[in-house]
């Protein structure tokens, strides 16, 4: 790790193919800034991405990275972090990837509390498949597969995380660059599973959850002197209040102990010493 790492060191030489104006640009820049600010460099960083527009992030960033199959990025990140806790592990996905096909893994990743960061680019639509509703789409949202609305409630990812025992639950807005980077940085610094839902508007297929909508409706909990993210009840109230869109660290468990810590995972497991370990024959003797 070197102290002179700049966030641009995390940029690859590949130009993003995201639509001009896509919220994912801001989301990614904030992630890179947060990584640089926390003293990481590309060679000690592992980024895992899912499928969809968000999944392309590994191509546009420079680090160790894996672009996996739909919905399964979190388990990959967990495996990386368990095998080498010295690495900074960041998993990125979209609302479809994280809350639909990967919802099962999301809940279990939260409760496992591995020391890693999960950034979800939530644009409330399926973009790469060209405009079908997503699990966070509003009930009356009209798309190619929901011509008269979805007829189902949108999932509340923050509530899902809270119910699963989340120790760091945050929300940010990709357009509010400074604040977004700050929140992701706090997620990285958290000892446990740092979850950040990022409003990352789709300018091509979602004309409801737009930049203007978020700009007008976002309430920054960081501006509220009475709000204490360590207060579970306050957090619960904010998370279950769906009449507002919140930004900031909504909940953080100060006593969080990561899975790595609980399990004593500190070693880089890539190293296998030459020759059989001294007590290896004990393994055989057990069967006497």
């Amino acid at each position: 790790m070197s102290s002179d790492v700049r966030f641009t060191d995390f940029k690859s030489d590949k130009q993003p193919t995201w639509c001009p104006g896509c919220g994912d640009f801001g989301t990614m820049n904030g992630m890179m800034k947060a990584l640089a600010n926390t003293g990481n460099d590309p060679d000690n960083t592992f980024v895992v991405a899912g499928i969809g527009c968000s999944g392309k992030i590994g191509t546009y960033m420079h680090s160790y990275a894996l672009h996996g199959v739909h919905g399964r990025a979190l388990p990959v990140g967990i495996g990386v972090k368990a095998a080498n806790p010295n690495l900074e592990v960041m998993v990125a996905g979209g609302d479809g990837d994280g809350y639909s096909i990967g919802a099962g893994h999301f809940v279990h990743a939260v409760r496992r509390n591995m020391d890693m960061t999960y950034v979800v680019m939530d644009n409330r639509i399926y973009g790469l498949t060209k405009g079908q509703f997503s699990p966070t789409s509003r009930e009356d949202f009209e798309t190619s597969t929901s011509p008269d609305g979805t007829h189902q409630q949108p999932v509340n990812p923050l509530a899902l995380a809270l119910a699963a025992g989340g120790t760091f639950i945050a929300q940010s807005f990709s357009s509010d660059a400074q604040r977004h980077a700050e929140i992701v940085q706090q997620a990285i610094e958290h000892d446990g599973f740092g979850f950040v839902n990022v409003y990352s508007p789709c300018v091509t297929f979602n004309d409801v959850d737009t930049y203007d909508y978020f700009r007008d409706s976002l309430v920054d909990l960081g501006d509220d002197e009475d709000y204490d993210p360590n207060d579970y009840d306050q957090a619960k109230e904010a998370i279950l209040d769906r009449s507002k869109e919140y930004q900031g660290v909504i909940y953080q468990d100060e006593d969080s102990r990561s899975y790595n810590d609980r399990m004593g995972l500190t070693e880089d497991l890539s190293d296998i010493p030459e020759g059989a370990p001294e007590d290896a024959m004990d393994l055989v003797r057990e069967f006497y």
């Binding site: 690859s12 030489d13 590949k14 590309p42 060679d43 000690n44 960083t45 592992f46 980024v47 895992v48 590994g58 191509t59 420079h62 680090s63 160790y64 990275a65 894996l66 672009h67 996996g68 199959v69 399964r72 388990p75 990959v76 990140g77 967990i78 495996g79 990386v80 972090k81 368990a82 095998a83 080498n84 010295n86 690495l87 099962g104 893994h105 809940v107 279990h108 399990m263 004593g264 995972l265 070693e267 880089d268 497991l269 890539s270 190293d271 296998i272 030459e274 020759g275 059989a276 370990p277 007590d279 290896a280 024959m281 393994l283 055989v284 003797r285 069967f287 006497y288």
Partner: protein, 587 residues
Amino acid sequence: MPEDLNWAIGGEAGDGIDSTGKIFAQALSRAGRHVFTSKDFASRIRGGYTAYKIRTAVDPVESVVDRLDILIALTQRTVEENMDELHEGSVIIYDGERTTMQDLEIPEEMVGLDVPLKSLAEDAGGAIMRNIVALGAACEATNFPIENLDESLEKRFGGKGESIVENNKEAARLGQEYVAEEFDHDFDYDLETTDDDYVLLNGDEAIGMGALAAGCRFYSGYPITPATNVMEYLTGRIERYGGTVIQAEDELSAINMALGAARAGARAMTATSGPGIDLMTETFGLVATTETPMVIVDVMRSGPSTGMPTKQEQGDLNMLLYGGHGEIPRFVVAPTTVSECFHKTVEAFNFAEKYQTPVYLVADLAMAVTEQTFPPEEFDMDAVEIDRGKVVDDAAIDEWQNEKGQFQPHLATEDGVSPRTFPGTAGGAHMTTGLEHDALGRRTEEEEVRLEQVDKRNRKVETAKNEEDWSYREFGDSDSDKLVISWGSNEGAIREAMEFLEEDDISIRLVSVPYMFPRPDLSEDVEAANDVIVVECNATGQFADVVEHDTLTRVKRVNKYNGVRFKADELAEEIKNALAEGTEVEA
């Protein structure tokens, strides 16, 4: 044929059948006798018939037979289930005092030993020890020194305190004395002991031990019969070497975690059974195309769907060879004995890392749950060699970067194997993806690059075919024109069937194949034979199909798919019948 004794304890699931059987098997093993166990169990926690069977001899035993000499029957059903295997002179130990046992009927020609198991156990300190009383009774009926049982009880209950151990020893002694005093009978059986040293373990345990020996440091899995023992074995042991086991939320997660750990540089493994392989198949493609080394164990059970979870079958071969969309380079390794489970697991890790591919290690239920004795030298840890393949460190990184200083994880080399860096290696940062990619690991749809990458991945298999020894195990008369081909756990039963066949002057040559892909070329062997029989536990003959495909020759098939493993005597008949059939099958 070994002078063997066939012993069993049967009752309801929850009666402690399994642990009681294991205690006796260990006592026999410690007394220098060979042991081969098998289990009849149902997919339930309590109730239903379950049995633990032991075949033991001074010479090695590798299969089960249709004969039962000593039976501890805790239920009437135990007698009924085994009636075909019982014979004149078979000893049945039972408890006539138990109210539920009042109707237990022992056929006249057999020796019924009515032992008050429960009340003797209570005398020793608790009714729970009634099975141990029965073991003591069995020792007397077989002239087996009860001191050997004592050692086994110490091992089993030592952790629970001295008084528990002593109570159990007392329970066994009461059982032994009761038989000695109450029955004026000259038993036919005499279990002699030897000074030989053996270890007793099953296939799942041998796989787990092989993984540890190979340096496996990460295991993720989801419990599923009959593969769970692998995870249970590794849990608590892998930590000694700094490693970790994660019980995942499902098989999808399990294989993806292992993928992550493998990319972080750890030797990583997951184990499951057929239904789990189904779920893992999507990620299997990702593992292969990202060229990630990983071992995936499939312990086969009866399918399809949930099938018969506690029954034997070798029905997954086609899935392992061909499963997954697109074309996927892979290795499929199939150990043929419990001890081979150890060696082939080590080999699987080396294949995985040398060729940067997923490796399926396929065992079957019969092998996975069968405990068998081996000389401990068979598991020589010092002989284990670890080959991590083309790992590039900080010092050598320059050689593998392009002109822009970017590391090329999917560089198309001559042998198809690319350089590999572990995260943390300076200058080695790279991405990889399940999308078709270029040498840098970046998405591409360029025709030339696509061809280059597909060819590169497939070239690894060609390289491995040339570089590795894809041999088979061979037994019997090498000059015989009767060739029997086998894979998986059938080897032992066939070897013993060969002894039965010798009695009828039929000598055969057995080829037991431990590699399903890449696999040895059997063309010459098949061509040289008049009769070729492929023996396997499935209905359609999946390996027979492969042999026919490879050798362009029709083969005969001996298949069993009722959920029970082959028995040596039954197999001898089947092989005889197959030999009696015409040599050519109509195309």
